[in-house]
């Protein structure tokens, strides 16, 4: 077993090489024993038991196939359920792909290429034509592995999911999410069954690791007719992005006791249709949260946020005209001399000192707990669970860095009952009670995003007490309430964010695990820094740039 783990560790390290050869992110994993190497477009599976050299060759072939466009869906579709054809195609196209990639191949691997075969085609289509013809084509060497049309198409159908997360704003669309794939019995080439689940999902440490690494792991639900040409899949986005969105009408637990008219703060709302504000339109009430007993959420910076956040706004600043410092401020020194010459008392502060800037930052995290976040997101868990984990991680990380943090949750039931639940106020201690309150949040009702943002910004300005202020909105980007329909709500939310920015509060918006597409998010969040990620683990990659961008936008306005 230990040997296996060592092997799989090495294979995993080969991922970089594979990505380089393929020109896109690829991971390498061991395949079933004795099974030829194959790829699904995101992972390359090679036999861990063969020699290093064989593995490299297999890797080079599979990665080159991906790089040369040999495994594009239109070609692969024709190889579906035709193992003999796929083999002939691989024999020709493998050499062509290697030849096309020759400038990248390490010297020892170049001997793989058979120039005569490579010359047969100059494109995947030509190779396919050659494979379809009656010409005699020698079987590909064993190291070439196999082409598995079905797996390629299946992973291809997952659309942009293979795009790796780039920094800043990954505008990834995930509305073609593949939720379940039937296992049908035909493998195009190769004999072992159920290779995806066994190599990625099973297999000890590596399997678990892969499950964590893949942004989505397909559950094998076993249903559906065997032999279907394309994997059947359900589309998640319809429940969320389309017009026929369903909302939970379940009342939140805290709703009834606070639905008392007369108290609360009134906020205006932007009417996009009439292009003016409706004064005192929404009533925002702060509703005491109900802590939930039991184990508190354990948060000790699980996503490694502290490191990316600690770098924010702490650069060294050179301060001129200091009484002491490590360099002479020449302008000040000259003035001092001139003063002396002129007979007046000089200012002795003539040094430049490097001082570490204090962050002086307060952050208010606004958590969406409307009914829509109670739906399961792209990864199985509900959006609420993801957002809650992210909110907790953010709060803890910022708190530990010495910033002032508050965490408010919000939902609404019409304009007179916009409820903000202060999970942690600025002056509250960050203790288990906060975590229990956070656990006690029950998603329900709607989200009047604009009013929540206005209240959050107001609280921040009033009680933040620092020169830099940040409002972090965790939401699925769905602004909807009574009389607050899609277009109107998005416009109001955008407006509210712009107002906050104008008052020097930076805004950033995060959507975690929701299937809202990039376009919808942009409609709601406008020019505010926003990102959509699939799971909270990815927070670390986007949080630094997001915070920086938000802080910067606020700083620009303030000047």
């Amino acid at each position: 077993m230990r040997g296996d783990e060592v092997d799989s560790g090495r294979l995993r390290r080969l991922g970089l090489l594979a990505s380089a050869l393929a020109g896109r992110a690829l991971q390498v994993a061991p395949s079933e024993r004795g099974e030829p190497a194959w790829t699904d477009g995101r992972m390359v599976f090679v036999d861990a038991d063969t020699s290093m050299r064989d593995q490299l060759e297999a890797l080079a072939v599979q990665a080159s196939l991906l790089a040369a466009g040999s495994l594009e869906p239109d070609v692969v579709r024709r190889l579906m359920r035709r193992p003999a054809l796929a083999k002939r195609y691989l024999a020709v196209e493998g050499h062509r792909a290697l030849a096309a990639n020759v400038h990248l191949l390490p010297l020892p691997l170049r001997s793989l290429i058979d120039c005569n075969v490579a010359a047969r085609g100059d494109s995947p289509a030509a190779s396919l034509a050659a494979a379809l013809s009656r010409e005699a084509i020698a079987d590909p060497p064993d190291n070439f592995g196999a082409i598995r049309a079905r797996h390629l198409l299946a992973s291809n159908d997952r659309g942009g999911a293979s795009a790796t997360t780039r920094e800043h704003v990954p505008r990834r669309q995930c509305n073609q999410m593949l939720v379940g794939v039937e296992e049908d019995e035909n493998h195009d080439v190769g004999t072992a069954a159920d290779s995806f689940s066994s190599s990625a999902g099973g297999g000890g440490a590596l399997g678990r690791l892969l499950q964590r690494m893949l942004s989505m792991v397909r559950p094998l639900d076993g249903g559906g007719p065997p032999g279907a040409d394309a994997p059947t899949h359900r589309r998640r986005a319809g429940t969320r992005g389309g017009n026929n969105t369903t909302f939970s009408t379940r009342m939140a637990g805290t709703m009834e006791e606070a639905a008392i008219e007369g108290r609360g703060t009134k906020y205006p709302e932007w009417d996009v249709h009439r292009q003016r504000y409706r004064q005192d339109w929404c009533t925002v009430q702060e509703v005491e949260p109900r802590p939930k007993g039991g184990t508190s959420l354990s948060v000790s910076d699980p996503f490694g946020l502290r490191r990316s956040l600690s770098r924010l706004g702490t650069g060294l600043d050179s301060c001129h005209r200091q009484v002491q410092g490590d360099d002479i401020d020449i302008d000040a020194a000259v003035e001092a001399r001139v003063d002396v010459m002129a007979g007046s008392a000089p200012d002795e502060a003539v040094y430049v000192d490097s001082l570490r800037r204090r962050r002086d930052l307060s952050v208010l995290v606004l958590l969406d707990i409307s009914g829509s976040v109670a739906e399961p997101g792209a990864t199985g868990k509900t959006v609420h669970e993801h957002q809650r984990a992210a909110a907790a991680a953010l709060t803890v990380a910022l708190h530990e860095l010495g910033d002032r943090v508050a965490l408010y949750a919000f939902h609404s039931q019409g304009r007179s009952a916009v409820h903000l639940v202060p999970v942690k106020r600025f002056d509250d201690d960050l203790d288990t009670l906060v975590m229990r309150r956070l656990r006690g949040l029950v998603p329900g009702a709607y989200s009047r995003l604009g009013a929540a943002i206005r209240h959050g910004a107001a609280v921040l300005e009033e009680r933040g007490g620092t020169s830099r202020r940040l409002l972090a909105v965790l939401s699925d980007g769905l602004a909807y309430d009574h009389g607050y329909e899609r277009v109107y709500g998005a416009a109001d939310a955008r407006r509210a964010l712009a107002e906050a920015r104008r008052h020097g509060t930076g805004c950033l918006c995060l959507s975690i695990g929701a299937c809202a597409d990039a376009e919808a998010l942009r409609r709601v969040f406008g020019s505010a820094a926003h990102a959509a990620i699939l799971r909270p683990e990815q927070l670390r990659q986007v949080i630094g740039p997001l915070f920086r961008s938000a802080l910067r936008s606020a700083e620009v306005r303030r000047r």
Partner: protein
């Protein structure tokens, strides 16, 4: 002062043109236009300017920009000499007076209020107002303003103002194609062609990895450093580990992946 004047050298700095960048630069120079050089770090921007200064026979004044660069650092200030204040030109003023090429390296690092002083110089006016002296200098013939920046680097935080960008002619730089890069590495380091080719192939492979957790890819400069270590007696693998992997990443997973790539691409025998 953080500027350097390079005297005209005896031989042309080694620069291999990849596209039409030399023609564009020389045309812009003749038409008295300012130039912005865009490209990743270590792809030859500075070397290009040096070569152009040599070809055009102008002195080159280089200013490395940093975020505490003040207008006075560029334009000049009064200093004390023997009880009198005396005006001392900054590098930009000197270039304007002498008709030199003034090269502001990594201009985005400078604060935006500082870069604004180049505006009147960069457009048709070609003037440098010096308010402390109360004079406005007209740029001498042969003055050329060149700025460089790396668009990928810290792009969220720093960017050139549009008003600055639009006063310039842009030349984009990328890494040279493999055969040219081989020539460059071989020339700069003195290692033989095969070793250079292996290093370059490794570098090109890394460049395909722009998503794998590397902030920057292996630049030509990094490959040259590796080549020089090889020339200094290290084996290619050791050299690449020290000069390529170490500078590129601190992440242990990425490091082990890169080491695995090195083992595939490079040999373990020192050439000398």
């Amino acid at each position: 002062m953080n500027s350097a004047v390079s005297a005209t050298r005896a031989s042309r700095p080694y620069y291999v043109p990849i596209g039409n960048e030399e023609h564009v630069f020389k045309a812009a120079f003749r038409q008295a236009l300012s130039v912005v050089l865009k490209g990743p770090t270590g792809c030859g921007k500075t070397r290009f300017v040096e070569a152009m200064a040599y070809d055009l026979d102008r002195p080159l004044i280089t200013v490395a920009c940093h975020d505490d660069l003040t207008t006075a650092d560029l334009v000049g200030r009064f200093l004390l000499r023997g009880g009198e204040t005396e005006w001392v030109d900054g590098p930009l003023t000197r270039a304007v007076r002498e008709g030199a090429i003034c090269y502001l390296d990594e201009v985005v690092e400078a604060r935006q209020d500082t870069t604004v002083v180049i505006h009147p110089l960069a457009d048709h006016r070609r003037q440098l107002p010096i308010e402390r002296l109360g004079v406005t200098l007209d740029a001498a013939l042969g003055f050329c303003l060149v700025v460089s920046y790396n668009p990928g680097y810290q792009s969220v935080l720093k960017d050139l103002k549009d008003s600055t960008r639009q006063r310039m002619v842009a030349i984009e730089f990328g890494f040279p194609p493999a055969d040219v890069e081989e020539k460059i590495v071989a020339h700069e380091t003195g290692i033989d062609h095969d070793s250079a080719a292996a290093l370059v192939r490794f570098g090109q492979a890394i460049r395909r990895l722009d998503t794998a957790g590397l902030r920057e890819v292996a630049s030509t400069r990094v490959l040259i450093a590796a080549g020089r270590l090889v020339a200094g007696g290290l084996s290619p693998r050791e050299a690449a580990r020290a000069a390529v992997v170490g500078p590129l990443t601190d992440d242990s997973t990425v490091t082990s992946g890169l080491v695995e790539m090195i083992n595939v691409y490079l040999t373990d025998q020192a050439t000398r």
